[in-house]
């Protein structure tokens, strides 16, 4: 029992230390959604066929947003959730173009009230049909004026990566909401 209590304290300490680190992108798997211990064997059986349908009649869902497949339309090659998440994330700026078949969203130059001296432009690329981290790429540009000259620079990789994570988190949230 004493050893267990020591382990508990160590575990909790590691957890508190981890609180300073960025939250994981995937927050959808809460223990609330997990089956109780006496029913977990059913989940083990379901997971043996991850690509197959796990219900007799499909999902019996009433109301809510209309369910769609993960691809947009017929012949499109991009993931629906990444597409919708990208549109929502980039809605702050005016859209210059959005191509659901090519999987490209481009904003026009836009200014933020908090950053009056800079203009931003974002291009999002959805590269595949599945909801995966490597199927979203973002290119961000920042335009500023220095000494009367307009300079356009590519934003730092860290900023682009953070925006990709924002889009991924939102895409997983959309999927979890509509496919619970």
């Amino acid at each position: 029992m004493k050893l267990f209590n020591i382990l508990l304290v160590c575990f909790f300490s590691f957890y508190m230390a981890g609180c300073a680190v960025q939250t994981d992108a995937d927050q959808t798997n809460s223990p609330s959604d997990r089956p109780s211990s006496d029913k977990r064997y059913r989940k083990t059986l379901e997971n043996l066929n991850p690509d197959g349908s796990n219900t007799l009649f499909g999902d019996l869902v009433f109301g809510g947003p209309k369910k769609q497949g993960e691809e947009i339309g017929t012949g499109a090659s991009v993931n629906l959730f990444l597409w919708r998440a990208s549109l929502e994330a980039l809605a702050l700026g005016p859209l210059e173009s959005a191509d659901p078949f090519g999987g490209v969203i481009i904003t026009d130059w836009f200014t933020l009230d908090e950053e009056p001296g800079n203009q931003f432009r974002v291009t999002a690329y959805i590269l595949g049909r599945s909801l995966r981290a490597d199927n979203i790429k973002v290119a961000m540009y920042v335009r500023s004026t220095e000494n009367g000259k307009v300079l356009t620079r590519r934003a730092a990789t860290a900023a682009e990566t953070r925006l990709e994570n924002v889009i991924l988190t939102k895409a997983r949230t959309i999927r979890a909401t509509e496919y619970r």
């Binding site: 382990l7 957890y15 083990t44 043996l48 796990n54 999902d59 909401t177 619970r180």
Partner: protein, 381 residues
């Protein structure tokens, strides 16, 4: 140049932060999902006990049924659940959940779980009757189990000796109060770590506030559950390790009387599961102290392994359990081997063989060895 780089980074990050904040979801129309399961189980057992000795045996029955040594038995269990989900204007999600359960022995007919869940980036809060943090977060050898024999009462073997019962199951669970009304908070998972805490008040009956000082057995006397888990990757595989703890206050007014202790007790458990390719392994340990009938210390540990074969899996586990009841001790061992298969379209099945032994300190007729063959089909809708 470094200053400019930093400036570019901070400006871009400000934009990212604002983009994320502005794109919070608006309120969504609620939707209702209906689902459930039906399970059919067939089994046959060979035990050392027979009905003339009025000792419950391992033939599949729910709860403490009668012995039917050598006979086959059929059991059914059904569950229908209703799940309504929605989101508020601020983006907070909610879910109302009602679960109706029924079996053909009459032990469960009606609402099994009723709860409301609120969730967001801050974590999730469960309110109502469903399993708590210790139950939901514990892991171990049962991660390879596909039969759930304990759930069906199939291998819950009650040894009657001088009025004391030794319950043997297939899990190393800490003692907790199942679906009694409680509040449970789960944190977000941060760098692989997640914590959960449950609290339930003193109840005279499930879901009813009342005076617990009557000392009636079965009272839920207030307490909490705690769970901590970590997930990560190791040597090309994934793992999860969890620590859980429970504490039930019991009736502290009359702590000396065993009946008045209600469900007083506490449990500690640790478990780990590891998945690498087609392999799945799990191990767990639990220590429970229960004042409910007589003071009992139950210590159990289990280890299991599974191997996936296409849409099927073969698995085996071993469970060791010891009960220390002061006047009578019991030592239980359980071996299991099983095979499960997912046919697709919502139909799954599993078949397994259990070999168990239960020895107590007084020996004689209270000992029991049993062998049990179980087969089940599960249809999910």
């Amino acid at each position: 140049m470094e200053f400019k780089k930093t400036l570019m980074l901070s400006s871009a990050i400000s934009a990212v932060a604002l983009l994320a904040a502005q794109s919070a979801s608006a309120a969504e129309a609620p939707k209702l999902k209906i689902g459930g399961y039906i399970e059919t189980v067939a089994g046959v057992a060979d035990t050392d006990k027979n009905s003339s000795k009025r000792t419950n045996g391992g033939t599949p029955t729910y709860g403490s049924g009668v012995t039917h040594d050598g006979e086959a038995t059929l059991l059914q269990y059904g569950e229908i659940n209703f799940s309504a989900t929605g989101a508020t204007d601020s983006g907070m999600k909610w879910r109302a959940y009602v679960e109706l359960a029924s079996d053909d022995s009459g032990n469960k007919n009606g609402a099994d779980e009723v709860s409301l869940t609120l969730s967001g980036s801050w974590g999730s809060l469960d309110i109502g009757g469903q399993d708590g943090a210790a139950d939901k977060m514990q892991t171990g050898h049962t991660s390879v189990d596909m039969l759930g024999g304990n759930t069906l009462g199939a291998i819950v073997y009650d040894r009657n000796q001088n009025g004391n019962k030794a319950r043997m199951g297939d899990q190393t669970n800490v003692m907790e109060n199942s679906d009694n009304s409680k509040l449970t908070y789960y944190t977000p998972r941060i760098s692989g770590f997640q914590a959960g805490v449950s609290w339930y008040p003193r109840l005279s009956a499930r879901g009813t506030l009342g005076d617990n000082e009557s000392g009636a057995k079965g009272d839920s006397s207030g307490g909490f559950e705690l769970g901590l888990s970590h997930r990560g990757s190791l040597a090309g595989g994934k793992y999860e390790v969890a620590l859980v703890a429970t504490h039930a206050a019991g009736d502290e007014v009359n702590a000396s009387a065993s009946a008045a202790n209600g469900n007083r007790g506490e449990g500690r458990g640790i478990g780990v599961e590891y998945e690498h390719g087609a392999w799945m392994m799990g191990a767990s340990y639990a220590l429970n102290k229960n004042w409910r009938v007589n003071y009992t210390t139950q210590e159990s540990w289990g280890v299991g392994v599974g191997y996936k074969l296409g849409k099927g899996q073969i698995a085996a586990y071993y469970l060791d359990q010891s009960d220390d009841r002061g006047s009578a001790d019991a030592q239980n061992k359980l071996y299991n081997i099983q095979y499960g298969y997912n046919f697709g379209g919502g139909l799954t099945g599993a078949v397994g063989y259990y070999d168990g032994s239960q020895k107590n300190s007084t020996g004689g007729t209270s000992n029991n060895d049993f062998q049990l063959l179980l087969a089940k089909l599960v249809a999910k809708f």
